[in-house]
Amino acid sequence: MTKRPSSIHNDPGYFYSRKLLIRLFAFASLAFAVGITWWIWVDFDRPWKDDQKAELRWEAGRFALERFVLENLAGADEAKYAKQLEEAEAKVAARRKEIDAIDAELKQANGGFYLADMTYKEQKQYTSEAEYWVQEAGTLAELADWWYQLRFHRDREDRLRDARERANDQLQALLDRKKAAEAELDAVRAEMRKNADLKRLEIVRTNIQKKRGYNRAREIPLLDFLAPPVKVKQIVLDNLVDNYEFSTPKKVDRCATCHVLSTDVGYDAVRWPVEAIDTKDAKAFEEGVYRFVYAVFDGVDPGKPAPNDPFRRELDLVRKARLHAETLDFLFEMEDADAGEIKVKDGRKVWKKYVRDGTGLWKQDDNGKSVAEYYLGALSGMKPHWRTHPHFKDMVGGHSPHPFEKFGCSACHQGRGWSTDFGLAYHMPDLKQVDDWMTDERAHEEGYHIPLSAGQTFRAAMARGASPENTGAGGSDLHTGWVTDKATGKRWEHELGATESKLHYWHWPQFPKTLVQSSCLKCHKEGLYRTAEPEYEGVRVGKPVKAPDTTAFDDQSAALNAEAASEPNRLLIPAEPATYRPRELERGLDNFLRFGCYGCHKVDTTLFPFMKNVRPKVGPPLDEIATKTTKEWALRWVRNPKDFRPQTRMPRFFGLSNSSHNFRYRFSDTGNFDDVNGAAWADAEIQAIVEWIFEESKGRARAYPAVDLSRGDPKRGEQYVVADGQASENRAKACIACHDIEVDTAELKVDAAALGSSFDKASGRPTGWKERMSRRQAPNLGGIASKVTPEWLFAWLKNPRGYWHDTNMPDLRLTDQEALDITAFLMTKRHVAFEALPPVTFNESILTRIAEELKVSEQQESTEDAVAHVQRWTQRERVLYVGQKLFKHYGCFGCHTIEAYKDATPIGTELSDWGSKLIERLEFNHAPIEQTRFSFAYAKMMNPRIYDMGMPRADRPFDRLKMPRFGFMPEEAKDLATFLVALTSDPVPAASLFRPDEREADILRGREIVKRYNCQGCHVIENEGGDIWPVIANSKWRPPDLKGQGRKTQPQWLFQFLKDPVFIAIPGVEGSDRIRPWYSIRMPTFHFTDEEARALNRYFSALSRVPADFETGEPDSISAAPYAQAKRFEVKKANNPQETESVDARSSLEETRLMFLAYQCKSCHSKEAKIESAAPDFRLSRGGRLRDTWIVDWLWGPLKLQPGTAMPVFFVDSKGTPRAQELQFLGGNPDVQIRALRDFVRHHYREEDR
């Protein structure tokens, strides 16, 4: 290594060998170069680039097709478009110039205002000073002097204030002008959007195709900072932040880097090219699609694929006209797929027929090669994550309430928004339903964190004691669950490198698809508002029918539109796409309210204002329980309410997985460990609670008069209850709109099928339910006779509020006889199986022990003293003591009012920020489930005691988890868990919070009330509800659809009607207490508060987009209504006899009278009419029921407002042309005729009344 130095001239020589150094240097440089190159390549080679390039090709293809369509099919030529573009640009430029000019002026005005403001404020200080000296003046002379000065300063201040005001006005005027100009600019821009697409098309084509070489150059590593064609697409969100504990920076989203097309309209499945092309011109279509395919495949001619063509597979597919079945399934609606034949629809008409060949592929039946195959084959290459966002109209689109530019992606989806790496963006697989996921082995295999031994311990413990529920050892009542789809996760890990270790460091991984809706509540703290669908449009004849919206993605409305377009006289459903609804979340909230979760769990109303109208306690009051039922019933009921009523909302507290086993317990009195029988312990607790409740209600029990059941007719009662619509005479009460009446719900299957639902036998709940609660609104009445006394039932039916002030049960205004009949019927319904259940045993020694333990736990005296204390009590005292303590311990007052715990605070965990809790803070213990918030909540719903599994505390009865078991169905538990996950306290800037405007707030409140009182059990409201309809055979007897209610009735009438539905009754007139005398089902009296009635009124008005104000007369703009004219003359004449009569007016009135007679209105609109053709009596119009405008609409086209009505159309034929017959009256103008009739009817019957 060393070389001897030469000694000449003291030359030290070389210490190291130069050759070696040079070699070393060469090696080091090479290594360094390799390292740097590798580094640059690693930095450059990102998977998102390939993705983006492919997407850009798709975009180019789409533009190629669109351009072609515009040029060739829409009758437009490029020059025309170019000219349009030019014009639009000129317009924009002009507006811009205007805005610039305004800006210049603004600059000036700003300066002017600034100066004026400054001078004014300067002056103010002198004025104030002068004021001070005036007050403090010591001598008269000083006073006079300062008075003088003050006057001077005040004058000056006034002048300056005026100047400032003027400057401000000028400024505001300019700002207004600017705003207007900008609005105009926006309008012009919106107009030229299509042309802008064209422009973009040019850009894309240029970038992607023509200048390919240039583009490739810009993609070279290190040169790619020069505006490369593929680049990270990033948006910074002004109004949303990330929460990093120490700072809250603005949210940054780069999701669009890979999901480029998802933020653009038209890449959802395939509809756009099909709809954009008029398929009549097959040849042109073919060419267009050809171009499209050509562009998508980057210039490769699909007809002649090159040998090394990367898309050879797809092109082969195209050439052979063979299509993957799933492509077809995905692309088009299928009909009769099972029959081995499908028709492919292009959105408007049946287009081609396909049959399945031997290989399972779909083949065109005539083997003809069609362009469609090119097209379909091409589309099979489109990947799901390139497609337009599935809820584009609601979530991402520029005109949606949540535009991408403002809300980005990660605001809802969570995840790490700025990552361009699949794994680091924290993509999560969706939830999937698994069965029997609780077994140790299975869960272990799937990789859940389970200490196997804990599960085994638990199982052994369960095997020792009684089995907790209907299942065997293991104590698991989780048969079904939703877990993260681990298989997909593994696939992702394999294909995309989303490894577990990468997923470790982020607290907010993306929500699985199903849970994305949990993000809604982040901003929608005022309520989950969804747009109310417009009710009517195009009612008037002759109004142009809205053209089908080709950008509508909702199949149904598009199809309806198409139909509507072909049939102009039909009620038009507007082409709004179906509004996105977070259905699980909505149902979760509903269940949260329905099951009274808020009774134990607080949700802060300042954080979530939608909770402010929370309903009263869900359970009945217990203060008078002794008058209603017996202890025998109550004991069994408390032991397991589901024994009596499978669907009950009352949860089960005893005999659950953590409390049913036998256990060893160390008692305070002996200090020894004793073996305790879990069931006997539970029975003692139940006994004590029930005894105490009955003791409490003793003093308040009221005596009901005895009821002679023999006077009631059970047969008639049954008819009332089940409302057999056939029996029109009996005026049914239709209890089944809200109640079930059989214990075994399987018996109701026939009806359930009619409702489109079926029942889950295990839980006794309907499984087909979607948004509605239908019959779960109220308790199942099966077996009611085993529960209540007839006296109580009779009194309850007569006046539910007498017993329970906050009940949702309405007053049905029953006569004594009716109430007796119903009572007689219901008292035949005994629950034999329940009565046969073994009684709740009573073990005195255990109860004493419990009393001692509770007394000791009060910690108010020493253990010995507490035990002695209890020993001194009588047994009765001990029972009542334990009962009172346990009533509180289990939080019974969360649902039931009782005097002793009137103001008790809820016992449950506050849930206001549950969704923000760190996973680490959730007590999973040994529960064999995934460690996610959703899984925690879900498992808790299904088995609330699951987190005691294998825990030593399960052997200490008062340390156990207390939440009772509600017996939720898996769907319900999932919905509730979704809701809980949504309750977050993450910071959201005020600007992004949802603030409902007046109308939206009205609708939100109205929907709350409708939900609470189950209005949709009878009525159809917002196209939902009418649960009772299917069981009423005759559609004429069904409760009305309330579509357009706000437009139809006058608010003051509706208000009174809601408060008291029979206020309209005319004394002495039979049947006048109902608008439709033939109805047998009656609208009950709900005893709405004024606030509720007003809110409902506002709700209906808001839905119909009419003001909820009282109508003030003269609402109609057509002043030529002859009847009104004539009446006005009469009034004038009464005041002034000299008034000369207008011949026109008089004859008009006569003509109207003739018309009224000619149409024979009274043959139906009177009580003499036959049931089949009966219509509301005109006399009811005196209440001011209908709105004037609605009557006009109604007479124009009753069928449009109420499909199926018997009301004939008098004035026009189906084409909208006035009918010849009507020409003879009032100059043949139907508008005038209709108004005249309306006014005539109203005033005529008023007169008659007088």
């Binding site: 130095p5 190291y16 150094l21 290594a31 740097i36 690693v42």
Partner: protein, 364 residues
């Protein structure tokens, strides 16, 4: 092979990695190495030994927990540190062995043969520096690409990492905090270390060993220094890095760091041992009487210690140095020795404090 790994190697390594074994083993190994350095540093022994250590590490990587631990981006430098230390330790000792043998034969040391007054700036200085620069840069680039920076989640006061570890160079100090009162381990001991380092020129008057490697001529100085550096610094860093896991528990090199594992330690003071355990009575109320045993022990250690040292192991040094210097050396040395003693006390008898006077915030 697998059986060997599972049933011999793993238990053996786990046993050795127990801190109360590891520290004495490391100490004994150091003493033995310094005693038999001439034999042990011979390449035919040292190279297989080094290879064996590396092989042990490679074989251990078949265990996922071990692999995860040593390949954690944070920990890779510590692994490099250990091998680097091994190499340079060997290099210095090897040269010292050659020089010492040469000195015994009356020959000049190796370094004397290479001695130069001057070398050329180019290529002997700048070129070599350039090569080093490029090589180190290349190595850093490779390292950076292969093992990216270990970025974790945003910091949160509400959710701290478990375990929360100091930077690697402070892990020795953090380890000391486990055994001593913070003011002692965090303030006094570091001060003593710095004072001790500063004192070296004044107490170490031995002129030998300048400019060449030797052990026999400076045996005491080198031994003390190496104890301080290797046993009390590097070994503690190693313990802190690889063996301190969740909840700051000790974990064997093949154990999974289970955050649920808890071992609530109940540590007791000397005074409690004396009054309660030995005399079976309550604690005296007066702190002075209560802490008398501890005070006596500490006093005896610090006051009698130098005397004992002067009569025994440091006999020669006592003769060479004056009384002030010797006292300084002895006291610094006793401070150093106190550390492993206290640590062993903690591991073996759960010793908390020797002197525990919370009344005056004096805990030792």
């Amino acid at each position: 092979m697998n059986t060997l790994f599972e049933y011999v190697l793993k238990p053996a390594m786990t046993f050795v990695a127990k801190p109360h074994i590891l520290l004495p083993v490391a100490s004994v190994a150091l003493i033995l190495t310094l005693k038999y350095y001439r034999t042990i540093t011979k390449p035919r022994i040292a190279v297989p030994l080094g290879l064996a250590l590396a092989g042990l590490m490679v074989v251990s990587c078949f265990d996922p927990n071990f692999k995860k631990n040593i390949l954690k981006p944070d920990n890779v430098p510590i692994v490099l540190l250990l091998f680097g230390l091994f190499f340079f330790f060997w290099l210095a000792l090897r040269r010292a062995a050659i020089n010492d043998e040469a000195a015994e034969r009356g020959e000049p040391p190796l370094e004397a043969k290479m001695k130069r007054e001057t070398v050329l700036v180019w290529p002997d200085l700048v070129f070599v520096e350039l090569i080093c620069l490029v090589l180190v840069s290349a190595a850093l680039v490779f390292w950076a690409v292969l093992i990216p920076a270990p970025l974790e989640e945003p910091a949160s006061a509400a959710l701290t990492p478990n375990p929360s570890k100091a930077p690697w160079y402070f892990l020795g100090l953090q380890e000391m905090l486990v055994y001593f009162d913070p003011w002692y381990a965090g303030v006094l001991l570091p001060t003593m270390i710095i004072v001790g380092l500063m004192a070296i020129p004044y107490v170490d008057t031995n002129p030998k060993g300048a400019g060449y490697y030797t052990l026999s001529e400076r045996r005491f100085a080198i031994t003390v220094y190496l104890f301080g550096f290797i046993v009390f610094w590097v070994v503690l860093i190693t313990i802190g890095t690889f063996l301190r896991g969740a909840n700051w528990n000790f974990f064997g090199p093949y154990d999974k760091w289970d955050p649920h594992f808890q071992r609530p330690l109940k540590n007791i003071n000397i005074s409690e041992i004396f009054w309660v355990k030995m005399l079976k009575q309550g604690m005296p109320e007066k702190w002075f009487i209560r802490e008398l045993p501890g005070l006596l022990m500490a006093g005896a250690f610090m006051l009698l210690g130098p005397l004992v040292l002067a009569k025994t192991v440091l006999k020669d040094l006592f003769k060479k140095l004056d009384i002030v210097r010797f006292s300084l050396v002895a006291i610094l040395l006793l401070f150093m020795i106190s550390m492993p003693l206290k640590m062993l006390g903690r591991w073996l008898i759960n010793l908390k404090y020797v002197i525990y006077i919370p009344e005056y915030f004096v805990n030792i």
